[in-house]
Symmetry: C2
Subunit: 403 residues, 2 copies
């Protein structure tokens, strides 16, 4: 999940060995706790097929290691009352950062994966060094407060990412920014992911696409972003720069895209497209322009028509993606959901018309994302947790505590 660790301290051999089987049961229990915060011990045991003896042993071990705490469950019928599993108050933590166009937020998540926002700020200018320094200071503060409990730093950023840093970002105006400076301790692993890819993963795990094996998340902000998520893991490519659906050439090849290519889908669906259809110059902020256009469309037929053309281009491209990937569910984030609602007939016609015939009887549901602006933060926390909740992660934690 997210880009593979800028500087994970993984000097040890791969160790696919069975010694690591030590953590199998413990991991299964912790994953259940994560997947469904508030599960009872009895419930976990039943779902995993553990005997009560094993459950006792595993929970005891995990409590000993400060990975899990138990509180009495609210009585719910006859029988001896069971306990509810929680993250341990002294257990491992993950720092999740969401770095957006105007601001950033820093959250801390325990093993249940729920990010709690600890700091937030807007950045006046977007000078990479200053923004990174501000975030790094916030990370340091959290790190100082929690010490060795912080096990990973995971950053969602509105940019094309790769190799543990930002490769390029139109919305931030950044090029090739290394984010390693965010780490308060160079031994900590750093995960950097595209915000939309992480939001997609979050939707697939906790949100509108929960339970789907293959989910497609598509967002419109400035251009189109999104990611395919397979079994909870976003498909982010070899360098972590995947998910740039907006640069599939669904559009007019004569239109040049700032990315360097031409005919990009990006140009046909967002505020820039609406402005072009209206014969206006490219708006400085396509997002707010698009929002305003949706509002104006109710009164102004020309605007309504321009919005309809954008919705149609969006539906046509989305149909192509459904043809290509056969997702079980599609979630729409950002401006995508209001756009399809505002021009539902055009969107629907383009979507259906773009689907291969055999898909039309049972197309995947297209639903609104439910995590909204918190998706990326949830996804970043999940990416960090995916690292903590491994055999290696747990044995490192155990070694530090007992050693």
């Amino acid at each position: 999940m997210a880009s593979p660790a800028g500087r994970t301290p993984s000097g040890r051999p791969p160790s696919v060995r069975a010694r690591d089987a030590r953590w199998r049961g413990a991991l299964a229990v912790l994953e259940e706790m994560r997947r469904e915060p508030g599960v009872t011990r009895a419930g976990v045991a039943q779902r995993l097929g553990l005997t009560t003896g094993s459950a006792t042993e595993i929970t005891a071990r995990l409590r000993e290691l400060a990975l899990l705490a138990e509180t009495p469950a609210a009585a719910s019928g006859r029988g001896r009352p069971t306990t509810v599993l929680h993250p341990h108050p002294e257990g491992p933590l993950v720092v999740a950062v969401d770095l957006r166009q105007e601001d950033w937020r820093l959250a801390v998540a325990a093993l249940d994966g729920r990010p709690h926002v600890a700091e937030a700020a807007t950045h006046g200018d977007r000078e990479p060094g200053r923004v990174a320094a501000a975030i790094a200071a916030a990370v340091r503060r959290v790190h100082r407060r929690h010490g060795g409990r912080v096990r990973a730093v995971s950053v969602a950023v509105a940019a094309t990412v790769g190799h543990g840093g930002v490769v390029q970002s139109a919305v931030l105006g950044w090029d090739a920014v290394d984010l390693a400076a965010l780490l308060p301790d160079p031994r900590l692993p750093l995960f950097v992911g595209n915000d939309e890819a992480l939001a997609a993963a979050a939707e697939a795990r906790y949100g509108a696409a929960a339970g789907a094996g293959t989910a497609l998340h598509v967002t419109i902000e400035v251009g189109v972003g999104g990611t395919l998520v397979v079994d909870g893991r976003p498909v982010t490519g070899a360098t972590g720069a995947g998910g740039e659906f907006g640069h599939l050439p669904f559009g007019d090849p004569a239109l040049r895209c700032p990315c360097g290519a031409s005919g990009c889908w990006d140009l046909t669906v967002d505020g820039r497209a609406i402005a072009r259809h209206l014969g206006e110059p490219p708006p400085p902020d396509p997002r707010s322009y698009a929002q305003a256009a949706l509002a104006a469309a109710e009164r102004d037929a020309a605007v309504r028509s321009a919005v309809g053309r954008a919705a149609s281009a969006f539906g046509r491209g989305l149909a192509g993606l459904i043809n290509a990937f056969d997702p079980g569910v599609v979630t729409l984030g950002g401006f995508a959901e209001p756009l399809r609602t505002a021009a539902a007939p055009e969107f629907g016609a383009a979507l259906t018309g773009g689907l291969m015939r055999f898909r039309r009887p049972a197309p995947p549901p297209v639903v609104a994302a439910v995590l909204g602006g918190d998706g990326a933060l949830h996804g970043a926390a999940a990416a960090g947790l995916d690292h903590v909740l491994t055999e290696e992660g747990l044995s490192a934690w155990a070694a530090e505590r007992t050693g």
Copy 2:
């Protein structure tokens, strides 16, 4: 891998339990043997970090269960000679079938995953019932010869697949054909996969993309097929109908596609596109037409130009896919490789021009697939083996032998 089991006899509970950890070491050893046929016991032990004691124990257990055989290794230096690991001559087998437009082939693979073709035939007509019956008879013969050693039947078919059968196939002229009749024993698991998706998986595991985390395989036959392969598993979507890249709307929206949509990429790259550019009627067999066009292009400037336009359309679409998925390597199968070779300048220019600027300094290598016509068969065998080489698969095998 491939579509999730038409009728796998998986009535048992998920069983994520640690009892299954019993097979971890054994599975790791068998996977090594599969990944690199001809490995030595000492080599496996070293790579997995096993002690010689564990290696002795595991190999002994696997020999006992007829999962593995050892032969003396050719002496290669000082020290006590080690042994080479092979599939056991009485070990489990997988039946792999490749069902193509004109013919089908049936192969048998042991745990090393190498398919050995046992039967093959062309189908005069393509009446689904007759073809299925002929294949079913061949499967029955193999099943009779090997008895309980056959653990799965895995079919690669030139069709859109889903839910354990064919959904639709233009090249075969089939609609909604259930392939469950191929099973000689209803308790056997059946895997049905698109041939190009399986070929992609095979390329990523054994072929030109071996070792790549994210690989993109693209083929031109009639239209464009292919699949993204992540960590050895093809991304086949929710119903197994993924990989239809040819139906991304990269082309002229005015062109209607037989699939029901319009502007499909399919129409711009294969023999139909070349014929259209030459003002000729759609060829009955676009594949042979395209082959002939490539040959004629050397002499005929008009044909050369038409081929160039197809190569350009192919390169442009491929660049879009690279933008969207960031593969570490791209493999070309079928007509795709000769097409780009025949019109390398046009292909190269379109590919580079279609890439986002930041990708251009280090684009993924685009290489020819090396498994050729055997890719789908390899992939189908791999899909079947993926089922055998699981904790469930091995414990079922062990239970049948000892019980």
